[in-house]
Subunit: 185 residues, 2 copies
Amino acid sequence: MSSSPQTSIYDPELSSQESTNSNSDQLETIQKEVIALFVNGVRVLGLPKSVGEIYGLLFISPDPLALDVIVRKLEISKGSVSQGLRFLRNLGAVKPVYVSGDRRDHFTAEAELKKLANGFIRGELNPNLESATLRLDELRAMAKNDKSPNSDFFQERIRRIGNWRRRGGMLLKIVNRFLGRTTRV
Amino acid sequence: MSSSPQTSIYDPELSSQESTNSNSDQLETIQKEVIALFVNGVRVLGLPKSVGEIYGLLFISPDPLALDVIVRKLEISKGSVSQGLRFLRNLGAVKPVYVSGDRRDHFTAEAELKKLANGFIRGELNPNLESATLRLDELRAMAKNDKSPNSDFFQERIRRIGNWRRRGGMLLKIVNRFLGRTTRV
DNA sequence: AGTTTTGTTCAAAAAAAATTGAACAAAATG
DNA sequence: CATTTTGTTCAATTTTTTTTGAACAAAACT
């Protein structure tokens, strides 16, 4: 940070470091379209656009990509990519891959539907189901002690929610079993 | 807005019209808790809080409620309730009920899981699946004409997405069949 | 016919969620 | 061990979504 008369030997505008999108970062039209498809897809799951972009890019890239490459190809911030990758890694939707002679982490998309679904169920759905289970237990206790004229109605309703949750859990297992079957792609 | 010495015979603060929450609009603790549970639940589905509140309130109310009653009980705006009810009606999650001697529309919650799930699938999931189907067809065509060295890879990937979508559609049918079974609650 | 009640619509405001970017830490390099 | 590279974190900003509330229309009352 010392300021000698001519501090910088680089012209930021021309520096290859600063260049936002070198030739090799250009996406093919098909790639852009596939990414758009994923961006749309993850919206249904309630995930942010950047997550769809990152997963989509990795899915439609023949080779594993490093964080800074993703940043340049998608033209989104390093922070977004870092967070998005962490999220996708936690879900098991993205895998780190060792690339010899390069110390950056590289990532590929996990492309098996079963694994994707399982990751999503474990990471996003189950936690909600579990917290609902706890709350329901408390509710049942409250309803038992309730003295209002509606007490019976409340108990019926709470039983019903419990029933929903039970069937929801069963469904997740069924989904799991269905996706688990080996299919010839 | 004319200002004669004593314009208003009403004191806005005391007027029963202005009163935000009359005695009968008070929710019981259990009701509040159930509503909170639903607010949480609909978040998983990517729906706004107000929709969860409205459905939850109707679900845990013994009698059908009119729009303005919902407004007072939940203390949210008329606009929100109007929009939320329309959305829930479109999904089939809420049913209009005729109440004799009252010209306001009244609503109850549809409490059958099968119907709720079907409504959600029809209203929220299927449209997405269908638009994805169209896009995929276009993608397949593009990939066929693609001349890049990655063409084969792209085609494999697009086939895979098609496979996912096919299995997704099958899953929705399975869910449907599973929830359709008559269960003793 | 005028008034009130009921409900919808939509521009503006508020709230929530996602993204950025700069500061930082850790590891690798020379 | 100083420097560079790589990646994370998080406060501030931007974008998106939701909510509000006032204007409006339609129907029902008097």
